[in-house]
């Protein structure tokens, strides 16, 4: 196991989002977190990735209690060990594709030339090398998302957190993004936590955890307790 959330509780004001979720992910595993909108799946991803702290419970990443780290400690972990991929809006619009992909390396202290070489190599692996000098606004949504995948993987993270990474794309563009993401993750033995409401996207995962009303639903059905009785 590489990362685990134990009895995670998190609320937004009076609204509970997670009500005691425990989930463990094995190294190299691709885990889909599914469930209807509002079930808490994005909150779970944010807690596991150290983007937010749970109100109660703990997140353990390879013997490190992520939930106990300071903001700067969690930020360092996200820069060095984790990659994060969202539905959209993560690329810097003023930078070219190559500059966007190089950015995490530059922030981690890699030299400019080396960072650009690595960025071009990752753009090549995602099949968008020819867009290296284009800005996000000049390419399609699917191409933008492939650049975003390259940026999320360029630091060779141990765990990639992806929140509805193809939610804004049509079926074929989404499939290309997922195909690349899953193939590269398996090559690198990168663990992936993939949040999605779409069964077809979850089909790319090795295993699925279904949430319902902030709790793990063991049946995967989302059936209310009353109706199941």
């Amino acid at each position: 196991m590489i990362i685990e959330g134990r009895a995670l509780v998190r609320s937004y004001g009076a609204t509970p989002a997670l009500r005691g979720v425990t989930v463990a992910v094995d190294e190299g595993e691709i885990l889909a977190v599914t469930g209807p909108s509002g079930c808490g799946k994005s909150t779970l991803l944010h807690c596991l990735a150290g983007i937010m702290r749970p109100d109660a419970g703990e997140v353990i990443y390879r013997d490190v209690r992520v939930s106990d780290l300071s903001e700067s400690g969690r930020a360092r972990l996200r820069r060095t060990e984790f990659g994060v991929l969202f539905q959209f809006g993560q690329l810097v619009m003023e930078l070219t594709a190559a500059e966007n992909v190089a950015l995490p390396l530059l922030l981690a202290g890699t030299g400019r030339r080396e960072a650009r070489t690595a960025a071009l190599s990752w753009l090549d692996r995602l099949g968008v090398r020819d867009l290296a000098d284009q800005r996000p606004g000049e390419v399609s949504g699917g191409q933008q998302q492939r650049v975003a995948v390259a940026r999320a993987l360029v630091t060779e993270p141990r765990v990639l957190f992806a929140d509805e990474p193809t939610g804004a794309l049509d079926t074929l563009a989404g499939e290309q993004v997922l195909g690349h993401l899953v193939r590269l993750a398996r090559e690198q033995r990168t663990t992936v936590v993939l949040v999605t409401h779409d069964a077809r996207v979850a089909g790319y995962a090795d295993r699925e955890v279904c949430l319902r009303d902030g709790q793990v639903d063991p049946s995967g059905l989302g059936l209310s307790t009353r109706a199941a009785r």
């Binding site: 779409d198 069964a199 790319y204 995967g220 009353r226 109706a227």
Partner: protein
Amino acid sequence: MSTPHVLLGLLSTGPKHGYELKRSYDQHLPRARPVAFAQVYTTLGRLVRDGYATEAGHDQAGGPERTVYEITASGRAELAGWLDQIDPPAPFVASALLAKVTVALLVDDPARAHAYLAAQRQAHTRRLRELTAAKNDADADFADVIGADYAIAHLDADLRWLATTLERVAILGGTST
């Protein structure tokens, strides 16, 4: 599915004997209901009888002599007619999933319906994962991909129907208690 028309379509790409036709069917429709050799030969006989195909010689390359068939002009017209024909959407829902859920609700056994649906959902998602892996396999060809796409879309539709039905059942339970 109309097997005679599918075989006519495969013959339209060039003359073939029965064995080649069966192989071509398996290659192009890998996820369709399999067709037996006997069915291929029976169908070829009917196509010849109806004037849609004709015997075009014999082939004995390294094995027993085989009759080669080719499509006729009449067969091409029949094939074109079939391809242009709009299929009416299915008038009846023929699904064991729907039948079992409906009957389970009728006999007022929600626990049984729940257990069935949980197991069925697992089976659906497992199959969906297998098909996703198959179509992303480096060796998958175009027929594999579109065949898997079709199956995945139907499994996905079942899963979405299942989720909606459970919501409806939950609402029904909430309003009646």
